[in-house]
C-alpha cells in the first residue's frame, strides 16, 4: 500500500522549488507540501543559531500538516541544522548535502569544487561529507553570495552575471574537475557558471536528492491526477510568485500565505 501523505519540503525561500521540480519529474504520483520561509530569507548570510531556529519552526509547521517525510531543500539549513531537525522529527529527514557529496564522489573526478552561501561554506559540511566517502579527493570551497540575488533578479546570463562568476570562479579555474552547485539558486546560473569553468562537470544537488528519496517511497498506486502540489510561503510579496515560477519552470496556481509564530 502506498502512503498518500505528502512529502514535506522546505527552503529558506522559493529556490527549493528546483528540488520539488526534480522530485515531481521523478515521482509524479507523489503529493508535495512545500514551505518557503520567504519572510525570513535569506539563510545563507545568517548565523548557524538563527538558521537552526528558523529550520525547526519550518519543520514544526510541516509535521503539523502530516507529511510522511521531510526534505530539507535548503543547502544552508542542511549544512547547519540537520542534526537538530533529526533530533525532533518522528519521520525520516533527507538533506541535500549528503546526496550532493555522494553525487560529487560518484563523478570519479579527483578535484572537487564546492560553491554555496557563506553559511554553507563556513560550515565545511560538503568537505566533510566528501572526505568521509573518498578521503583522497581534493576539495576547494568558495562562497558566492551574489549568485542568490542575481538569480532572484533574473540576471542569470547578462554581463553582470558573467563578471560576477568570473570574480568568484576564476581562482578555481584549472584547479577543479567537478563543481557542486551547493545552493538551490545556482542551477539557474548553470550556463554562466559552466562557461566560466570550461571542462568542469557540474553537480546539481537537486538531482542527487531524488536518489536519496527513492528508498523512502513505496510504489505509488494512485493516478498522477490525484497527486497534490501545495506551495506555502511565510511572506506573500508578489515578487516571490515571479521568482517561484522562474524556479519551478511553470506557473503556480496558488501561493498560500502562512504565518509561523513563536520564537522565530
Amino acid at each position: 500500500m502506498s502512503d498518500p501523505r505528502p512529502i514535506g519540503v522546505f527552503d529558506s525561500g522559493v529556490g527549493g522549488l528546483t528540488v520539488v521540480r526534480r522530485l515531481r519529474e521523478e515521482f509524479p504520483r507523489e503529493s508535495f507540501l512545500f514551505l518557503g520561509d520567504t519572510a525570513r530569507l535569506p539563510y545563507g548570510t545568517k548565523s548557524p543559531e538563527t538558521v537552526e531556529r528558523y529550520s525547526l519552526a519550518n519543520v514544526g509547521f510541516l509535521l503539523a500538516r502530516d507529511v510522511k517525510f521531510l526534505v530539507v531543500a535548503c543547502n544552508t539549513a542542511s549544512a547547519v541544522a540537520l542534526p537538530a531537525i533529526e533530533a525532533i522529527s518522528p519521520v525520516p529527514v533527507v538533506g541535500v548535502i549528503e546526496p550532493g557529496a555522494e553525487a560529487a564522489v560518484a563523478t570519479g573526478r579527483r578535484r572537487i569544487g564546492v560553491i554555496g552561501t557563506e553559511a554553507t561554506i563556513a560550515s565545511g559540511a560538503y568537505a566533510r561529507a566528501i572526505a568521509r566517502r573518498a578521503p583522497g579527493r581534493e576539495v576547494i570551497a568558495r562562497a558566492c553570495p551574489l549568485f542568490v540575488p542575481l538569480a532572484e533578479e533574473g540576471w542569470t546570463d547578462n554581463a553582470v552575471a558573467r563578471e560576477t562568476a568570473e570574480i568568484y570562479l576564476s581562482p578555481l579555474r584549472g584547479k577543479i574537475d567537478a563543481l557542486v552547485l551547493g545552493c538551490t539558486h545556482y542551477p539557474l546560473l548553470k550556463d554562466t557558471i559552466a562557461a566560466t569553468v570550461p571542462g568542469v562537470l557540474l553537480v546539481d544537488s537537486a538531482d542527487a536528492v531524488c536518489e536519496a528519496v527513492r528508498p523512502l517511497l513505496s510504489p505509488a498506486r494512485r493516478n498522477e491526477d490525484e497527486s497534490e502540489y501545495h506551495v506555502c510561503v511565510t511572506d506573500a510579496a508578489e515578487r516571490f510568485r515571479a521568482v517561484a515560477e522562474r524556479f519551478l519552470g511553470r506557473p503556480i496556481d496558488r501561493l498560500e500565505h502562512v504565518e509561523i509564530t513563536g520564537n522565530v
Copy 2:
C-alpha cells in the same frame, strides 16, 4: 536640562549605521541605541505586512530600553510602517522618507529621481511626499534591488557595480536633475552612481535626517566622553561586524546579540 536617554535607531540591518554616523557627527554628545534586525533582513523584498510586523517588534524592543525618540533609519520601514509605528509609540518618531523628500525639493531641481528597494518604490512614499511639498516636480522612481547585496559584498566600485548601475540607471540619464538615494545601503555606491548619471545632484536621506532630529533635542550639557554608543543585532553572524564597520567607517567594539521573540 538635557535628556540623557539615548536616541533609538533601527534598521533592517546594519546599513542604518550610515544614519547613526551622520547623527553622531552632528550631535556628538547624544547617546545612541541602534538595533539592526539582521536575523530578518532584508526588508526591501518583503511585503508591507511583514515589514510592519518586524518594525513594530523592533520599536517594542527600543521602547523597552527607554529611548527618548525613535529614528526609523530603514527606508522600507519608513515607507510602509510609519503610521503603524506612530500609532503605538509614546515618543516622537522620525522616518527617513519625509526628510529625504524635503531635501530633494530643497535642491530646487525640477526632475527628481528616486531609487530604493522594491518595497520602498512600490509604496510610492517618496513620490507622494515630494508631490505634497512641490506638486510641479517630476518624479521618476526605480527599484535597484542588487545595490543592497553589492554594498554588503563590498563591491561598490568594480566592474559588476558599474554594469549594475548602468542597467538600473541608464534609463534615467538625461531625464533627472537630482537623485534621492532612498536606501541606507546606497551611499556606499555613491561614486559609482554619480559616474553613471553625470551632472545629477545626489541626495542622501541620512544627511536630511539630521535636520528632522534637531528640533527634538535640547542643548546637551554633558561631555562627549559620556555619550554612549550601543549596537544591537538580532543575528550575530560574524559577517555583520565587517559590514557594520564598512557602514560606520570605524571599528565597532561590541555587537550585542539580542533576541526579539513573539510573532516575528
